[in-house]
């Protein structure tokens, strides 16, 4: 399918915001960032600006947040005679053992599998696109869209802690408190979302053989 024409080769730019197809700026130097979309006023870019640097920075920041998010407890449950601090993983285990295994699988997927998958996929995409790899192009494109689609479901555990905190206030002996882990986890989700937004999926295809 190397015959399919690409906008960059034709001197066209599609606006990131409104999708309008614009003629690329007249300068042949390939500079961009100086022309605004005639329809919505956003600055036109052939590729998202500094995509590699921004995505790496956000991804690494997210990973640094993810470590305390998993190590530190995210919530304290105090009932009649015991106080219990839960991490993300111990919360999943408890759901599995005492509650419903199916919900445990959902929480495990949202809080552990999805963030891990996101780190892995984004790193693979960044590295393979940087080396202009032709390997598994459609699959890599699909992986990116998957990660983009499911990323925000990781917020699940944050909302669970928030709801339990607001709900369980019967007396001093049975209450739920949020612990610092949940803050780090919330930040992890936001940073991974920002990372996938700043990655330009067109970079995946930019390494394709151009001598068609």
């Amino acid at each position: 399918m190397s015959a399919l024409p690409r906008a960059a080769d034709l001197g066209l730019i599609s606006c990131h915001v409104c999708g309008l197809v614009c003629r690329a700026a007249a300068d042949d130097a390939g500079r961009d960032g100086e022309v605004a979309c005639p329809r919505c006023g956003s600055v036109l870019h052939r590729r998202k600006p500094a995509s590699y640097a921004r995505t790496w920075a956000l991804l690494i920041a997210a990973f640094l947040m993810y470590i305390p998010a998993n190590v530190l407890p995210i919530m304290r449950t105090a009932s009649l005679n015991d106080i219990d601090d839960n991490t993300i993983l111990s919360g999943v285990v408890e759901l599995w053992v005492k509650g419903s295994p199916d919900l445990a699988v959902i929480v495990f997927t949202a809080s552990i599998v999805v963030p891990m998958l996101k780190f892995l996929v984004m790193a693979v995409l960044l590295i393979s696109s940087r080396f202009r790899s032709n390997w598994a192009l459609p699959q890599r494109a699909k992986l990116f869209r998957l990660v983009e689609l499911i990323g925000y479901w990781s917020m699940l555990d944050v909302f669970v802690v928030a709801l339990l905190t607001a709900l369980v206030r019967f007396n001093l002996l049975s209450l739920v408190e949020p612990l610092p882990g949940v803050i780090f986890f919330g930040l992890t989700v936001v940073l991974t979302m920002l990372a996938s937004m700043s990655f330009d999926p067109r970079l995946i295809w930019d390494g394709r053989d151009t001598n068609d």
Binding site: A3, L10, S14, G19, A166, L167, R169, W205
Partner: protein, 241 residues
């Protein structure tokens, strides 16, 4: 059916001539592009995932155009008229008010009852030294969805007459940026998990009141399939100042 290819002369003349693909899913065959300069920009479509250029074609009911290169969805036929969308947005507003007024979950323990509303939850998190979570919840569950509904209602109201509402461009740009940051559907699932966890830890009776949220999620799902960019096409800017 293989995609028919047409030569397209490069208007600048410096680069070798390229080809424009006549994607059979997108373009009517036999309509060549002579010169890019003569093609109006609205007639073209660029895949935002891989930068492939297509000629646009009116889609028939239920049709979805996929990119030949990366399989991403290029464009779908929007089965909803502007009026139908406006009705949906208004329904969503009513449901949104319900979802914010009624408790999401009520717990019972030894005759005591405790319930949480969305704002109760947001305020609790703020007071419990988790301001980051509080702000996140307020933004993704209240302010962004609210802004989305209000501004969509505003834009659609004017779009009924094919007009662009005051502030159209600014609102459309803002909608583009807040799009991925509304999370009501995650909250619904979170409420279910919270109920089960509350039962594990505290032996309580739980009464879910998240029906309004469940309905809201359904409406959001319908909206998610609508590409709001179509509002650019169904309206025309007013030239009069």
């Amino acid at each position: 059916m293989a995609p028919a290819l047409n030569k397209a002369g490069d208007s600048r003349g410096s680069a070798p001539s390229r080809q424009i693909c006549e994607n059979p899913q997108i373009a009517p065959s036999g309509q060549g592009i002579e010169c890019m300069g003569k093609t109006s920009p609205e007639a073209l479509l660029i895949c935002e995932y891989c930068d492939t250029v297509y000629r646009r074609r009116t889609l028939t009911r239920g049709e979805v155009a996929h990119c030949l290169c990366c399989q991403a969805v290029l464009e779908r036929h929007h089965g909803l008229s502007v009026n139908a969308m406006l009705a949906l947005v208004m329904t969503a507003m009513v449901v949104f008010v319900q979802a914010n007024v009624w408790p999401i979950v009520t717990l019972g323990l030894n005759g005591q009852y405790s319930s949480a509303t969305l704002w109760g939850t947001i305020i609790q998190m703020w007071q419990q030294q988790a301001q980051v979570v509080s702000v996140l919840a307020a933004a993704t569950l209240f302010f962004f969805p609210l802004f989305k509904m209000m501004s969509l209602g505003w834009l659609l109201w004017f779009a009924r007459q094919g007009r662009r509402a005051p502030g159209f461009v600014r609102i459309m740009v803002t909608l583009h940026y807040i799009g991925p940051w509304t999370m009501s559907e995650v909250f619904v699932l979170g409420a279910l998990v919270a109920i089960v966890k509350a039962r594990i830890y505290f032996d309580v009776v739980a009464d879910p009141g998240i029906y309004a949220y469940a309905v809201l999620t359904l409406l959001i799902t319908i909206f998610a399939s609508v590409d709001l960019r179509l509002l650019w096409d169904v309206t025309t800017p007013e030239t009069a100042i």
